[in-house]
């Protein structure tokens, strides 16, 4: 028979002291790892060995030389064309907001181009958005008219070992390599770290950096730290570790005009976790989503989150075991009913279960509540 659990907010007094606390946002010691030694450190990894063997077989005894890499040139923008069968459409808001507004010429990358010998013109297969921004800034007098555009040039008749491709076919493959499989998008943690360190190491005044730094201050105030997802894989998550960076940023209203208000929601969610679930292995992403939404809705609907909410929710959470177990329970129930997964069910399930157990504290109205009533 289920017995009542008396509220006891103490941590287990018999738990051993953790041996180490890990909260670094910057490395200690020398931050410069020489390229060659960094590469050599992974030279014997299976993935590398297999790839090297496959490429060696494709090269059939030949070797790449300097000329195979093309050359760097400075060319007038007027000589550059965009192959519209290779390139995507212009991303106008992206060009405006992310390239022009934040423009710094030191950050602009060279365009990748094929030199068409017959016409004497350059076909750009990569760099269209920044090249277009360059032309616009020149048009509007923000770049001096005599400024040339940096290009990595490959002649249209250049052949390289291990490939039959030549001319625009190289650009066609290159577009796909760079924008698809050839570039691995970094874990959002590294973007977040870059923003925080922008302020802490380099005195950045960018709004996105200042907001990220405020979020990091909130994490630290509640004994938490951000980490890349890889560090939590398997059973490696540590108490206070947050890897669900997208939820963290979204909850705080990062990058929006709402930040100064929404950051209080994040503060409550993390404070509650630190108070009741400090020894959990990591801060569960489902927990952040559920109670982030709860806090946001309470704020929007003028419902005060009281200590009674915290206590009753703590008691209710015990029915699942932990925030992580609640998340898993929701996944199981959703999958059984609908198949797949949608985190939109998290807060409705929490509300439904809480009310079913006799909860009486005021809860905010959830728009999609009825969709998940049957779970």
């Amino acid at each position: 028979m289920t017995r009542p659990i008396v509220s006891n907010l103490m941590a287990n007094p018999f738990a051993p002291a953790p041996k180490a606390v890990q909260t670094p946002m910057v490395s200690t010691g020398n931050i410069y790892d020489p390229l060659v030694s960094r590469a050599m450190a992974i030279a014997n990894e299976d993935d590398i060995q297999e790839a090297i063997a496959n490429l060696r077989a494709r090269l059939q005894g030949e070797q790449y030389t300097q000329e195979h890499f093309g050359r760097l040139e400075l060319q007038p923008a007027s000589l550059v064309d965009i192959n519209i069968d290779i390139q995507r459409l212009l991303e106008i808001p992206h060009i405006g907001k992310n390239i022009i507004e934040l423009f710094d010429p030191r950050i602009m990358q060279p365009l990748n181009v094929i030199y068409i010998k017959e016409t004497g013109r350059y076909s750009a297969w990569e760099g269209q958005q920044s090249g277009t921004a360059f032309a616009l800034m020149m048009h509007f007098g923000l770049i001096s008219p005599d400024t040339l555009i940096q290009c990595k040039v490959v002649d249209d008749d250049l052949r390289v070992p291990g490939s039959d491709l030549v001319g625009e076919a190289v650009g066609n493959l290159g577009f796909r390599c760079i924008n698809y499989k050839g570039r691995k998008e970094p874990d959002l943690f590294y973007i977040y770290r870059s923003m925080v360190n922008g302020v802490r190491l380099y005195n950045s005044t960018l709004t996105e950096d200042l907001q990220a730094n405020e979020i990091q201050n909130t994490l630290q105030a509640h004994n938490m730290f951000a980490a890349p997802g890889l560090e939590a894989r398997g059973q490696k998550a540590k108490p206070g570790m947050i890897t669900h960076i997208s939820s963290l940023l979204k909850l705080a209203g990062h990058g929006t005009d709402n930040f100064d208000v929404a950051k209080a929601d994040l503060d409550w969610v993390l404070a509650w976790h630190n108070k009741y679930y400090a020894s959990e292995k990591g801060v569960d992403g489902g927990y952040l989503i559920t109670f982030g939404r709860f806090a946001t809705l309470c704020r929007e609907q003028d419902i005060e989150i009281t200590k009674e909410h915290e206590l009753e929710f703590y008691q209710h959470m015990k029915r699942y075991g932990s925030p992580k177990a609640f998340h898993q329970d929701c996944k199981t129930r959703y999958k059984r009913m609908f198949g797949g997964w949608s985190d939109a069910c998290l807060l409705p399930i929490w509300h439904k279960d809480y009310m079913k157990r006799g909860g009486t504290l005021p809860l905010p109205t959830i728009k999609n509540y009825n969709e998940y009533k049957s779970l």
Partner: protein, 123 residues
């Protein structure tokens, strides 16, 4: 809400002592785990160590809560779990933590965190 539909699961502790070949020191470590079949698990351990073993503590409850209890123990004692060949970490708490501390930790969790876990008398 009904989160307790499964057959009972068991969480157990047992102690094992061995003599370290290099130092001749007697080392005592505590093993933990969960199972639905204590007899079979006992046979398994006896098969590994070559002598009869006796549970030092057994608690029973719904699967989710028993799994959560084990998860919590791994979290709380993560820095004290025995790491062996190739740094493989096992469900053994190393000799720096006395058995009584682990037992007290479990009993505190059962008392304060889990509504449906009960201690079984060890046979």
């Amino acid at each position: 809400m009904n989160t307790n539909l499964s057959d009972p699961y068991h969480f157990y502790l047992w102690r094992h002592r061995y003599v370290d070949d290099d130092t001749d020191a007697v080392i005592s470590r505590t093993c933990f785990g969960i199972t639905t079949n204590l007899d079979s698990r006992q046979n398994g351990y006896e098969g590994h160590v070559g002598h009869a073993i006796k549970w030092a503590g057994v608690w029973s409850g719904p699967e989710r809560q028993i799994r959560e209890l084990e998860h919590r123990l791994k979290t709380a004692f993560r820095d004290y779990l025995f790491a062996g060949h190739n740094d493989y970490v096992y469900e053994w708490v190393d000799e720096t933590v006395p058995f009584e501390s682990i037992q007290n930790w479990v009993e505190w969790e059962v008392e304060n965190t889990f509504a449906d876990i009960v201690k079984l008398s060890v046979v």
